[in-house]
Symmetry: C2
């Protein structure tokens, strides 16, 4: 194997696959990145795979000799990111005779020469493939919007299985994203048809998504989010699904992930559709007030109390801490329905407010123990449901 490429290409592509390299690999080779050099196509492909999440990317290079090898991902990334701009030549020094497990790889740049020990490509696990399946095509814009509004609400508790993922389901012209950790729920609908103002834009191929439903680990979707930032909003992601796996393809990048098994909770039935009270609020103002009063919230229950003062047209936030003191902030609010009090975990509110995006939001509620809904006024089609916390007397 021998090829020459630019430092910036190699560096960008190594960074891209790095997140599929486990920090503590269960087997040494999983800490490596797989290089495959193809003279015919003039391409280098890089693959990292932690047995659940896999990322493959390829880029153009001057390939002199076919071949493949795996190299320590972190070390290589550290070296390449520090090399000066310009050409880098990577050579597999001695072809393996089948007995030695390690081979020498030389990395040459204008500044000097590194020699690393590589491990045989044969020992690197195969990325899952999905054959004979028509992909679903989703615009980058729709996926990006949907993930931004839902990923944060997924559970980080690995024992919660299906709740550690985001549930994607197909509606007639849109894709629905849902994530919940049992305390709050975020649901976003994004259109799957591109609405673009450019006249010469090619309409995206229509995928029939009705009935489509799948739960994908949040970790894999965070990486997908990162990969999408390097692409245009008008590009399309091809999504291949089989019983156990999903594959996202976008330009020369491919991300594979296992699916999460088990039925996703029927969240639709949790969302109330009739409300006795509502308040329209300035999102940033509410968020910055919450960030301040949260400093005094008890670390145990993180409780913040909302007082709706209908006559005054004000929302009052208050926090009491046994040890530290108390905080009280108020802001203008358009309130309809009766005045009253309700309490929340302040962290759940802050997470949701960051994702809602719009300048103004609406809070809709019934009695003080029933779920509360936050929706943006304009922009994203998102519903954020938070369970209130009981106020202690």
């Amino acid at each position: 194997m021998k090829f020459t490429c630019s430092q910036s290409d190699l560096n960008a592509n190594l960074s891209l696959v790095r997140s599929a390299v486990p920090n503590r690999p269960t087997h040494p080779i999983l800490g490596n990145v797989l290089f495959v050099a193809d003279t015919e196509k003039g391409l280098i492909s890089l693959t990292a795979f932690d047995l659940s999440l896999g990322i493959r990317t390829s880029f153009s290079a001057n390939v002199e000799e076919d071949g493949s090898i795996t190299l320590a991902a972190k070390l290589l990334n550290d070296i390449v990111s520090r090399l000066p701009e310009g050409e880098i030549t990577i050579t597999l020094e001695e072809e393996d005779d089948g007995e030695e497990e390690q081979s020498k790889v030389t990395i040459e740049s204008v500044s000097g020469r590194f020699q690393l020990r590589g491990m045989k490509a044969d020992d690197f696990p195969e990325l899952p493939t999905i054959e004979n399946v028509e992909p679903v095509r989703l615009p980058v814009s729709a996926l990006t919007e949907g993930l931004r509004g839902s990923l944060f609400a997924a559970s980080t508790d690995e024992t919660k299985q299906v709740l550690t993922g985001v549930h994607l389901s197909g509606l007639q012209d849109s894709l629905e994203f849902a994530a919940t950790d049992g305390h709050r729920l975020a649901v976003v609908q994004t259109p799957t048809q591109q609405t673009t103002e450019e006249e010469d834009s090619t309409p995206q191929p229509e995928s029939n998504l009705e009935g489509f439903a799948i739960t994908i680990p949040a970790k894999a979707l965070r990486e997908l989010e990162r990969i999408m930032t390097m692409h245009k909003e008008t590009e399309a992601v091809a999504l291949y699904v089989d019983e156990a796996q999903v594959i996202f393809e976008l330009g020369s990048q491919r991300l594979t992930s296992r699916k999460l098994e088990g039925a996703y909770p029927n969240y639709e039935q949790l969302i109330p559709h009739q409300f006795s009270r509502s308040a329209t609020l300035e999102r940033k103002r509410l968020l910055s007030s919450l960030e301040r009063v949260a400093l005094l919230a008890d670390q145990k229950n993180n409780l913040v109390k909302f007082t709706l003062a209908e006559e005054k047209g004000q929302l009052i936030l208050s926090v009491e801490s046994q040890d530290l003191g108390s905080a009280r902030e108020s802001m203008d609010a358009q309130i309809s329905g009766e005045s009253g009090e309700i309490a929340f975990n302040v962290k759940y509110l802050m997470d949701g407010l960051k994702a809602l995006g719009a300048a103004e939001i609406q809070m809709q509620l019934n009695q003080e123990k029933q779920p509360v809904i936050f929706t943006p006024l304009g922009g994203l089609k998102m519903t954020y449901l938070v369970m209130p916390v009981q106020i202690k007397d």
Copy 2:
């Protein structure tokens, strides 16, 4: 106590004293910052003190009522930094009747009201004072330069006592800064007379520094460095010294620190003045090469080998790691004296190269076990001594 000030003044001054607040205070009140409000001067002073390092700062405010109180430094800093710009009013709600240990303090801004529990000012330890001593006056520029070139070389091992500080000593027209951890030594001389091109600048009062010698904890000097960044280079720091303490005064800021006891090593005798070999090197090029090859250096001894190739006019850096592989970089160098090899701890070299500052540096050496000297060509008057490491065969 009651006063009104701007959010930005309060925030800046709280941040300034924060570093003298210990993370884990041995007594609760040391986690607090002392507020003293003075109606006559229209000033608020803030003090933090961890019993070794103390910082006091003051700023103008509209003081309605004299008084003093202490408040949890971290919490207050977190709150104030998040308050919107504008006026803040702080009121000590109920004067202490002598029995209660805690008092209520209200912090009001346009956005709302925080109420915190304060602890009595009487219980806050007094900052050391130094009476009837003429201060030494040092230009900010000289102190800043001296500290930048020496602080990094002080030992971080608390058992090494006097080596955890920087030794300052007075020469005829300059101040010498020295720091060593036993493996390397940094010495900087900075002029104490301002050389400024502004014609209307007032000459600094001349302090006779000959014979002056003192060792100050690196931690205190790092804070002094930070305080000085907020002042002009042409300002002067007044340094008061007694048997146990030092006080630095700069504008409305004051930093007190204990001195480090014990004789500082006679480092001057360690520095060789005759050399059989030397090399002139481009500093940034050497530093970036070292940063790359260091990635392969054995974590135990961090060894990098320098090969001086006089005929080729090159310096070759090489690193070998049993586990990872090897690295070799070369760069142009003006070499005088014989070719040969010498090895260093790569981390010590990188630290020193960052501080040396000049575009070109000179490395001067004798035999492979004798100390090596690095000096900048032009700019700072600095000597960086590193002990070489024995090369294993």
